[in-house]
Amino acid sequence: MRPSRKTRAAAPRSRRTNGKRKGGSSKAPLIIGCAAAFLAIAGLLAWLLWPPTDWFDGSKMEEFVAVQIPNEERLPDSGVDAYIDFSNGMQHAYKDTGIKDNLMGIVNKLTKTSEFYSLANEEITPLGRQDSKEIFNRIVSEKSYDNTSAPIEKTLARILKEQRPAFLMTDFEEFTGGRIQLENYAKKYFTDWVKTGKNITFYVMDFVENGKPKHLYFTVFDDYGQRLVKQIDDALEGKHANYTRFQLANNLFPVSRSYETQISDGDAVTYKGGYFKGGNYHDANEVDAVSMIDESGTKQAYRVLEGWIAEFYPSQAESWKQILDNAAMLAEEKLDPQAVKDMKVMPFRHLLSERYFNLTCNSGYVIDEIGLKVYDVTGQYRSQFDENYTGNSSAVPVYDFLRLGKTEVDNPGEFEVLVDFDPKFNGTFSSEEGQTALYRVDIVVKKATPRYELVNQLFAWPGNNSLAESVRNTLQAVNPDDHNSTEPDGKIIYTAYFHVNGK
């Protein structure tokens, strides 16, 4: 049995062995085979590791935004000019102990950093360096008020020319040639100040002059950072005199976010938890499984663009189609309701959420409508950073891509601002480049109504509508909505940049 099996098995093998030996003397197949395998592997590695879109560098976003959104003009840190009206009508104001108390708080706060000026007899005169007590005593002493005609208009012109944070204490009664100026003389100055992104805050207090109800104004001219306004707020905190605060500005719409993971303290920025996340979708493991935003905390990753109300969302997706597919697969109706309830899976609801915006908190305007605008800013980016780039260099509006969602939250007037996919968007753009383009998503003011009723109440008094008229006209001139020629696209209140990596 055994030998015969061996013989049978051996026969074909020896044939094969012989056959192989004939052609086996050459090493050529081995070399060719190995070379082919090596090339295949090398090719695969090259394909997999080839860098994605080479024109884009996420670490340059701050530089880019600085050109994109002109930063609201910043005032120097060099101190404050404080102008005090010493015309004779003012002494009635200081008979009110509440006003006196407020004033003391402010003088104490400002003496260290401020240059004080007296406004009287049509002159602006420096008071020189004095301590807060001397200045305060001089202001409240009746002897100081034998003057007439504080040069208010001249002061406003000076504040505008100096471009420094300023504090102006006055009743805004301008005498020109011995007569009360009834024209809206302040409008030009207010408008010019606010137009450049700065703001004017009025602290309005009531007093009685010879039986006539009048107003005293602590007026603060400040920039977007509002450092002086905060000082004045601090100084008035805990003082019991009634005042009403009114801000003349077209850009102070606080947008807050509930995903605060980044604490900014001046130039030093620290991050909680080592990395930070935006208002994009996150699954139960805190991973963005839909838009695939890079949240690694590197220079290329998601971040708040410090100094602007703007964020950068770099996606590691291949395409917007992929993001849309992810969104569809994680839609609530596709998921197990029990798992959703137990928070084991998070359904996809919005591309961006958890941004809150108060439509009624601005004292100058009620925001009736906000809108969303999307631009392809690839051309702008490339022309800024690539000197060889010769293509289109303007922002191209993009339609049928994203849309605005809005949900009311518990606070009256407050809304959660949402960015959603437009139902018409199917993941493709008019050209293939659209997939890896840099998109700017702006949330803008579409309609704003000035609060005229408040203006009359705070800025008019019997026989004088000049200031109310100035404020009213300023509110019209700098209206942030897109019906106004100075802001044809509507004032931007928030911006998100999106870029899809493409690989």
Partner: protein, 112 residues
């Protein structure tokens, strides 16, 4: 977030190299037998490591690279690439087996 499928192929390449070396070592360890049963044994071991290349490549890829992915499109992409990588490794294993087998005279010639 890992979006490149490179690790899938890296695993496949490592598994391929390891299995191929094992196949070579094991084949070399099987000594010549007068009845030539060693040839069959080397053949069997060659195919065993071939099957292991396929299974281990896919298995490791699945556990290490695919299983933890929560992005739906990325999950299917990685799954597909793990399969492609495993089959490529298997194909490369057989191809190199044939080339080496046909171009040498020693023990490895018994593979084909």
């Amino acid at each position: 977030m890992q979006t490149s499928v490179f690790p899938c192929y890296m695993v496949a390449i490592i598994v391929f190299v390891a299995m191929f070396l094992l196949a070579v070592i094991v084949s070399q360890m099987i000594s010549f037998k007068p009845d030539r049963s060693d040839v069959a044994a080397r053949k069997v071991w060659f195919w065993v490591f071939g099957a292991l290349t396929l299974v281990a490549s896919f298995g490791i890829d699945f556990l290490v690279n695919v299983n933890s992915i929560t992005v739906p499109t990325l999950y299917s992409k990685f799954l597909i690439h793990s399969c492609i990588a495993a089959f490529s490794a298997f194909a490369l294993y057989i191809l190199l087996g044939i080339v080496i087998s046909k171009s040498t005279r020693g023990k490895l010639a018994s593979w084909f």
